[in-house]
Symmetry: C3
Subunit: 428 residues, 3 copies
Amino acid sequence: MESKVMQNELYDFATKIWSYNRSLTGSGVRETLAAIKLEVPTLQTRSYPSGLKVFDWEIPMEWNVNYAYIIDPDGNKICDFSTNNLHLIGYSESIEVDLQLSDLQAHLYSLPEQPDAIPYITSYYEQRWGFCISERQRQKLLEGIYKIRISTSKTMGTLDIGEILIPGADKKEIFLSTYICHPSMANNEISGITVNTFMAKYLAKRSNLRHSYRFVFLPETIGSITYIYHNLKKMKKNIIAGFNVTCIGDERGYSYLPSRARDTLSDKAALHVLENDYHGHKKYSWLDRGSDERQYCAPGIDLPIASLMRTKYGEYPEYHTSLDNLINVVTANGLMGGFDLLRKVIEVLEMNITARPKMLCEPMMSKRHLYPTLSTKSFHSDIRFRMNIISYLDGKKSLLDIANLLGKPIKFLYDEMLTLKEMGVVDF
Amino acid sequence: MESKVMQNELYDFATKIWSYNRSLTGSGVRETLAAIKLEVPTLQTRSYPSGLKVFDWEIPMEWNVNYAYIIDPDGNKICDFSTNNLHLIGYSESIEVDLQLSDLQAHLYSLPEQPDAIPYITSYYEQRWGFCISERQRQKLLEGIYKIRISTSKTMGTLDIGEILIPGADKKEIFLSTYICHPSMANNEISGITVNTFMAKYLAKRSNLRHSYRFVFLPETIGSITYIYHNLKKMKKNIIAGFNVTCIGDERGYSYLPSRARDTLSDKAALHVLENDYHGHKKYSWLDRGSDERQYCAPGIDLPIASLMRTKYGEYPEYHTSLDNLINVVTANGLMGGFDLLRKVIEVLEMNITARPKMLCEPMMSKRHLYPTLSTKSFHSDIRFRMNIISYLDGKKSLLDIANLLGKPIKFLYDEMLTLKEMGVVDF
Amino acid sequence: MESKVMQNELYDFATKIWSYNRSLTGSGVRETLAAIKLEVPTLQTRSYPSGLKVFDWEIPMEWNVNYAYIIDPDGNKICDFSTNNLHLIGYSESIEVDLQLSDLQAHLYSLPEQPDAIPYITSYYEQRWGFCISERQRQKLLEGIYKIRISTSKTMGTLDIGEILIPGADKKEIFLSTYICHPSMANNEISGITVNTFMAKYLAKRSNLRHSYRFVFLPETIGSITYIYHNLKKMKKNIIAGFNVTCIGDERGYSYLPSRARDTLSDKAALHVLENDYHGHKKYSWLDRGSDERQYCAPGIDLPIASLMRTKYGEYPEYHTSLDNLINVVTANGLMGGFDLLRKVIEVLEMNITARPKMLCEPMMSKRHLYPTLSTKSFHSDIRFRMNIISYLDGKKSLLDIANLLGKPIKFLYDEMLTLKEMGVVDF
């Protein structure tokens, strides 16, 4: 029931932010951050000026769109940005010109093999203008004069980043990143924004978090580079695990892409959940990467960031087209599944204590009523399970390591640890 | 021949200590230690008082039995402790009461699925009284009044431990533990007492031991905890390998249970012997443990103790019943096999030197007549074997490591080392 | 074409040195070194006196041969050393005696299973005289008196070693060893001398070597021991990789024998080449060793020396007989193949840089025109390859490690590194 309510909330939020014209910069980014802040008021935003050097990169001019459309020879308005922001290529220049169809063609982008899809195209680093259009519509264009009307601005503005910190008992942080630079596409990227926003909201209500949780919402690549540039020392000190959360709202599967180091706490926690609860999940390699983990795990940055996804970017046909929408690809149920995956991984991290017994040798269990008083031929498997856990509490293995050694979900071990702590047998 | 004499000695000793009423404490334990001392006069006994705190545990009251039996409605004495000490549950209270059969039933223990077996039951940590009886006999009990007569004592007494040290050239110790707390059961436990007693006797006669050997005979769990409590520092300093020796007198197989760390010298030596000489042996996991290795390998204790067994406790149907006797389960031949396994493992430890060549580069073998003087096309495999050993004497690999690298029994390598030492090629 | 010229040069050189009477010492060794010096004038020779103690060994007397033959009962000269130096056993004593055939037999060596082969026999460390003869010829010997005429000398002379250093930018050395102690046999050993001589000549012409290259030409075993005795400290300091080059002139295959440590740079470089370019190559084990790697990798010497071969000594029927010649076994094409294998391994070592990116996070590729400016749905695999390399430049992995991670030949990665260096993205 609660889950039903929640999945509708997720879906409604996704629908709400659908049409904002996100790009590397601009008002669509700020509208998106404002929508998140309505859900999680502790969101902080930070703005970095165009032209700022960040490592090898430079923050670009801020791009905004007033209008963009074409008037066809019959006087119809086509490729109208106000109808679908994918029609205009990202960072398109302004232009006002009348062209023959044959001259227009070089500025049109379509996908012959997906005739109903408007492709998603950007040209951040070279000046261009152009429209994206479905192949089917393009085929119907008649000869004649087309009036091209694009009014955009590139100004010295800002790149905007949102950040939420949910403090826990421990200053060590779990870092959750998603990006906010794609216009109207659902799985890549609205699903990530939605799941992370509601995860922050969910964690903010919990009073007993062991770790702190930091969420960042930033434009892909230039945003994570800007963020790292300003926070690297603190990140290296505090982050013990983290995920790039993306493409997490469809119903087609679950998948995981490792950190570069491959065996960090993030990787272990994700794999523990996937291997215990998600039969048929897909494992990618570091060589399949393609999002902000490229920066978080770059040489010298070396953060333990893996990726959690449902169907990975580039691996579904609707990817980077207008077909990646809230009907074909992303659903309320799909978003809820993504949320649950992330929640389970977070629970593993919360439960991953490193406990020690309070005494040398085995504790005496019968005096604590944790052991039958009558010794017979048989031995209960739950008692054996408990003693097995205790036998591995050497201070080097975390509970997750022990769960994997015993081939059991960490939850079962954690419940035992709570009992054993209450009984004075272990400490953590 | 000698082996035939010896296996009879082993069997006679097992028969002799069969009927002593061993428990955690009491006169049966002391009788057992006295019997061992007759074989190995250097046995030292140590007594620890009831009530002494040892880590999380406390040494229990000393329990002794005067008599225990039931008079049935026909006046027959049944469940007589003096006939079979398994009839009385361990640490039973005294009682003198007459009961209807229906009231007696709650105090009777039998095994419906093994109708001829008297089960072995204890209640160390909760006050109870009761009798163990075969299911077949139980089914024949008639309605009527039963006279229950149990006279036992629980007093402030002692827990008794026996210890034998066989000193070798090296203060480093091989630690051999077995337990002395089960009444009349043969494989679990008389076989362990027997094999360790005669191994101590055997080693005491050898004049050239490289390592020292320490044998302990103690009640399971509370005994090893008490021993560790008083000796931990010394144990951690001196013990380089060791075994819990138990269930080692049957003829059904050979088995091994690793130390918690899994790759200690004990594990390597045991596996070397088993893999070279015992096809079809069984390997258990640490998760199958159930005896004093639980304490020796507990977190913070961390001793390199593995278990050597023939058929493991819990893995044969007669386990913890009156059927685990010197006819059905344990035999003279079975005990001798157990003794031989342990002796072979000890030999491996004795041979496991770490030698160095006395010169850089290969030694010149022909001047020592260890090499043919005529160089032809073929090359003898025994010379190659010798040179292979020398090539691995890097001071990091022990002879056991090299034996495993070469896939040969360590004995073959050790013989070469003796020759090479005599020839002045290596030193150890 | 150039390759055709070169393989003829290799073969001509092999033919030239074919008949020199190489042994542990003597004029044949010096003639061979003189022939090498004609090709590589920077060759240095060093002479060590007979009787010098080198570790456990002693440099033997210098052995030279004036003549050696037998006059058969019919007056024919047979087993004439001047026709084939294999006829005389190595280090044979002088003798002038007339013997009945039956008395001569004990001094004749032949191979019944290879009736046309003259075997190769030596007796370095015990005084003997004797002749090697084909089984076919031996069977035809008639009864009668045979005149044995052997005139050899054993004098206080020298053991001679040749050495070439090709200096590179780095003082760290690649060490290439071959032996010069076998008389007229082609694969074992003329092929090694030939390939190493022409590799030194080839490298001496290159102006841009990263590493230094040291070639040694020495009698097997006693020569390498003598060399190590005088140079160990320097060798341990400078040598980063190296190979014993032997049996490298036939056309039957390619093979590799690891260093004792098995995972040195030498092993990695050799395996990278063999696994990428030589399908069907053969891998031997350290236990199959039989040449100077026995000394270079001995405990306490511990140099990273592996062996590169075509068909390994002992693994082809002509080995250590007169059939191992420049017709049956070694060919111009076979020598060229051996040269190419060694050259490729050297190229891997030259390319095996450890580079770092010059910036944190990913470099911005589009501003350097290393990235398309239009971001579409597809992503070029060559760009991905480039970014994959950069993502692994953590300063710990060498380019060879990264090539193996990516499953590509290092050449492809090295070409990328040159571009990236030129673009200012990486430094090495």
